[in-house]
């Protein structure tokens, strides 16, 4: 664990406190942190609660007085403090250190869904804390509560031992809790320096030149060798992320939340980010990273909290990780995350896919919405009569894969063939006529047209075909009759076919979308997260329908982040990681833990378990 941080980082010329002052733009409150002082006072703190409290007060005073030395901890204390003792303080010592943030028994409900069910999270000063979990485990909800985006329904949040409420993201910032979201909040056509000072409390007149030289140094420290005056749109994604981090730090952040920070980065950029996070840790900033990438979590974090189904299921502290070793820790985490999952093998009947290959992707690559390479040289063969499940953690290229097959996304390399005929980049309309049905995961965003009726939405994709239209003219009777048939067949709950689609629940919209797609009688059905947010009954209905379609000779590609449902109905399972299918299994040969490990770590998991 300590291996990669054994050599102390080079001394930094400026500390964060200085960064704030240099442009005189940061919050005027002195952000000198008790963490460091407390760490150095750790020995004294065993003397008891009361004394510790006094000590805390005095260190607070000390902060104010000794702002300068504290600020230079990036440079000085690193040289004197052994990284190992910092990163892996013993449990007893840790227990004595006051947590900087402790979230206790946080509850958060969204309607009937308990996104967080008595979740607790304790964050110590100067540590990197990874929150691991599958999609829907409640990680993002928990972070949104800490960053002030959501209000918890129950539980308490303490900061430095004092209970606080965080009403909004700006209140969170005032408490020193800053968040770097997956979607950056930089303005692309403003310069780096303008972005960094944007939103800080400043006078009416901007004086950027004053802080420019210092910001340059800070940028260098963050391994960003760019001119502060360059516009952000010219920076790479990794560089933008660092600017985002600097921006948040400038507001006096001592708790830094990062939501899936590595999902858009190249491996080299990931390494760079981790170097920066380790340096921040040395300065006493506490970092929380939300991630589903196990290897990365193990690489960088001191402590790992694991969530599953909205509950705490495990926490590994520094000494747990140290004693179990990397392989052991990985094993424990995978077991915690996927262990006890029903294998569902006994209920599963093997369907032998004897059909010919209907869909073939060979060596397909594509660029994602954020300009990253979303799909890398991916190849799939989909045969008639089978369900091919794509397992993977969200954001590994699943959406892009579905869009490529549907014709909504252009490929940069590779070939897409349907039943032997080349359809590479043929476009949605052509592919749809050729027999590809795509059920999107973005129901309200692109699946349906919000202002229109159920009937209109049901006919949306085939409006220019018989029977819905004859030449130029719509046949409104046919549109309505079709909708009524689909409503009946798929028992969509709606007052009438004329009801606006947005008045239906998510499950019923999903049923209608499924009905619409199947009514087109496609040969290849691609569905992305078809049961997302649905109640159990509807979800089962959707899965059974897909199974029936496959049994009737169609090829189904089931993309889902819910491993259970993939295991339930798929014949073959491919694990997608970082835009690649890293491994394919016949359903009968599936070992859940291997799949889980592959989902979380990609090929590294195979190498890791062999070691």
């Amino acid at each position: 664990m300590g291996h990669e941080i054994a050599s102390p980082p080079a001394p930094l010329p400026v500390g964060r406190g200085e960064i704030e002052r240099l442009t005189c733009l940061g919050d005027s409150r002195p952000h000198c942190h008790s963490e460091r002082s407390e760490e150095s006072l750790r020995g004294d703190e065993v003397t008891g609660m009361r004394e510790r409290k006094e000590k805390h007060v005095s260190t607070n005073l000390g902060e104010v007085l000794h702002c300068e030395p504290l600020v230079s901890t990036w440079g000085t204390s690193v040289g004197t403090t052994d990284d190992m003792t910092d990163g892996t303080a013993t449990t007893q010592e840790r227990a004595m250190v006051q947590p900087i943030v402790s979230m206790r028994e946080i509850d958060k409900r969204f309607g009937p869904v308990r996104a967080n069910d008595k979740v607790s999270l304790t964050l110590y000063p100067g540590e990197i804390h990874a929150v691991l979990g599958e999609n829907g485990a409640g990680k993002t909800t928990l972070m949104n509560i800490l960053s002030g985006m959501y209000q918890p329904d129950g539980g308490t949040i303490e900061l430095d031992g004092k209970p606080i409420t965080i009403g909004s993201p700006s209140e969170a910032l005032a408490h020193g809790i800053g968040t770097v979201y997956q979607h950056f909040t930089l303005v692309p056509n403003l310069s780096v320096i303008e972005n960094v000072v944007l939103g800080t409390k400043t006078g009416f007149v901007l004086n950027l030149s004053k802080g420019e030289q210092r910001l340059k140094e800070v940028l260098t420290e963050f391994e960003l060798n760019t001119d502060p005056n360059v516009e952000v749109r010219h920076l790479s994604i990794g560089q933008r992320q660092r600017v985002e981090i600097i921006k948040v730090l400038m507001r006096g952040t001592r708790v830094l939340l990062l939501d899936e920070p590595t999902s858009v980065l190249t491996p080299t950029e990931v390494e760079g980010l981790f170097r920066i996070l380790r340096r921040l840790r040395e300065e006493g900033v506490s970092v929380v990273i939300i991630t589903h990438k196990l290897e990365e979590a193990l690489d960088v974090s001191d402590r790992v909290t694991i969530l599953r189904g909205g509950k705490n299921v495990g926490e590994l502290g520094p000494d747990d990780i140290a004693s179990a070793g990397r392989a052991g820790a990985r094993q424990r985490i995978v077991e915690t995350m996927f262990g006890g999952m029903p294998a569902a093998a006994e209920t599963f009947q093997q369907h032998v896919a004897t059909g010919k290959t209907l869909l073939e992707l060979s060596g397909v690559s594509a660029i994602g919405d954020r300009g990253e390479i979303a799909i890398r040289e991916l190849s799939i063969q989909l045969r008639a009569g089978e369900i091919y499940g794509i397992a993977g953690v969200d954001g590994n290229g699943q959406k892009e894969l579905g869009e490529i097959i549907a014709g909504q996304r252009k490929t940069t390399t590779g070939r897409l063939a349907l039943d032997g005929t080349d359809y590479t980049n043929a476009g949605v309309a052509t592919l749809s006529r050729a027999g590809v049905g795509y059920i999107t995961d973005d129901r309200l965003g692109e699946g349906v047209v919000p202002g229109m009726s159920v009937a209109q939405n049901a006919a949306l994709k085939t409006i220019n075909r018989s029977p819905f239209s004859k030449g130029f003219w719509l046949d409104r009777k046919a549109i309505e009759a079709n909708a009524n048939t689909l409503i009946e067949q798929f028992s969509v709950r709606t007052p009438s076919a004329q009801t606006k689609i947005t008045l239906l629940s998510g499950g019923n919209i999903q049923k209608l979308m499924l009905a619409r797609e199947l009514a087109m009688d496609p040969r290849v059905i691609v569905c992305n997260k078809p049961t997302y947010g649905l109640d159990l009954k509807t979800a089962q209905f959707v899965l059974q329908t897909l199974r029936q379609e496959a049994d009737s000779g169609k090829a189904v590609l089931l993309i889902s982040s819910e491993l259970d449902e993939i295991l339930e109905i798929s014949d073959r399972i491919g694990v997608i990681y970082n835009g690649e299918i890293v491994e394919t299994f016949e359903r009968a040969q599936v070992d859940i833990e291997t799949v889980g490990r592959l989902m979380l770590s990609g090929r590294a998991a195979v190498a890791g378990s062999a070691a």
Partner: protein, 377 residues
């Protein structure tokens, strides 16, 4: 189905808020008048008398209604597809110029109905021509049509002025203008009135647009593009072509309106003639809530405002611009009303509570826009 669904499912609330917005605009406008020492009630009485009551005024109002209806029918097509055609005035001018030139050229040598048809087609071509450029820029290069259509207005003013002072100038008169179409060859009156048949053309345009959105594939597809572009892409619609064609069609209607004014009222095209229907049409179409048949009453209302406004300087000592200000106030009040309406829906939904399993707490696309706002503030 479209229109009926819209009318019945939203009930009458939208029309109520449009009317309320108009009333509020009059109230605020009245405060302005009073603050400037004018008698607001008197001024409004003049406005209404002249536009509505007076026989003469009513005729004027109906005459004005024709271009209003044609232009707003075209704008409705564009706005239903979420295409913002700010260039109606330019398209109107080019259409009017070509109609004037073509009409005058053939007047006398062909039967009048044929001459009108030729002039109308020339007007339509002119309007389309002026819309094709921004449409191509929008579809091919993804340039914002708001900017390009707006800029094309300025180009139109000067190009038309040049043409009418140069190649198309009627050399028999001093003023720069096209050759006049004789009074006898202009559009005839509707029997029993002094309103030319342009009004009927206008009403026909609205009916055509209503049918377009009610019963045609094209109208349906435009609606899809306008309401949810991503869904249109998902459904495989040719989004670019649809949006571009909506813009060109809108230009065609604007050009037809130009031809209508030339054939019905002016008889010629003068340099710098710009009645500015485009911006009024925006107010009109929005207050009609993008509903085609509602265009008719609102077109009547705006026409009488313009006609009444013309008489306000003389009789109430209020500048004509005041009507423009009223239009602006109506749009502002309308925006407020729409906001309040949304709040009302949100509140009433909360009170009624609706059965809903549409919960997507981990959705990444949902709160992201909000996140950006919250952080940078």
């Amino acid at each position: 189905m479209n229109e009926r669904a819209r009318m019945s499912s939203i009930s009458i609330l939208p029309i109520v808020s449009s009317v309320l917005a108009i009333v509020m605009a009059f109230v605020i406008g009245g405060i302005f008048l009073e603050a400037n020492g004018k008698d607001a009630l008197h001024a409004y009485r003049i406005l209404f008398e002249r536009g509505l009551v007076n026989g003469d005024g009513l005729t004027e109002t109906f005459k004005k209604m024709a271009p209003m209806l044609i232009v707003s029918a075209g704008l409705l097509i564009a706005l239903r597809a979420s295409v913002w055609n700010i260039g109606i005035d330019g398209q109107f001018m080019v259409g009017a110029l070509l109609a004037g030139v073509a009409g005058a050229a053939v007047a006398g040598s062909v039967p009048n109905p044929l001459m009108w048809l030729i002039a109308a087609v020339a007007g339509i071509i002119g309007g389309m021509l002026w819309a094709v450029i921004p449409a191509l820029l929008m579809v091919k290069f993804n340039l914002n049509e708001i900017i390009t259509t707006l800029m094309m207005n300025y180009v139109a003013v000067n190009v038309c002025a040049w043409l009418v002072k140069g190649p198309f100038r009627d050399s028999s008169v001093v003023a720069p203008q096209t050759k006049q179409i004789p009074l006898a060859d202009r559009l005839p009156f509707i029997p029993g009135t002094e309103v030319h048949i342009g009004l009927i053309v206008g009403l026909l345009c609205v009916v055509v647009v209503a049918i377009l959105f009610r019963s045609t594939v094209y109208g349906f597809c435009l609606d899809v593009v306008g309401r949810n572009r991503k869904a249109a892409i998902h459904a495989g619609l040719p989004v670019g072509r649809l949006a571009g064609s909506a813009l060109i069609l809108c230009g065609a209607f604007a050009g037809l309106a130009g031809a209508n004014d030339v054939l019905g009222i002016q008889g010629l095209f003068k340099a710098n003639w710009d009645p500015g229907y485009g911006f009024t049409a925006f107010a009109l179409v929005y207050l009609a809530r993008l509903n085609s048949l509602l265009l008719i009453p609102f077109a009547f209302f705006f026409s009488f405002l313009l006609v009444g406004g013309d008489s306000m300087p003389r009789r109430a000592d209020v500048p004509t611009y005041f009507v423009g200000m009223l239009e602006g106030l109506m749009l502002i009040c309308f925006a407020v009303a729409v906001y309040l309406e949304r709040r009302w829906h949100a509140i009433s939904e909360r009170i009624r509570g609706r059965p809903d399993d549409r919960i997507e707490p981990e959705s990444s696309s949902g709160p992201s826009a909000l996140e950006g706002l919250e952080i940078s503030s």
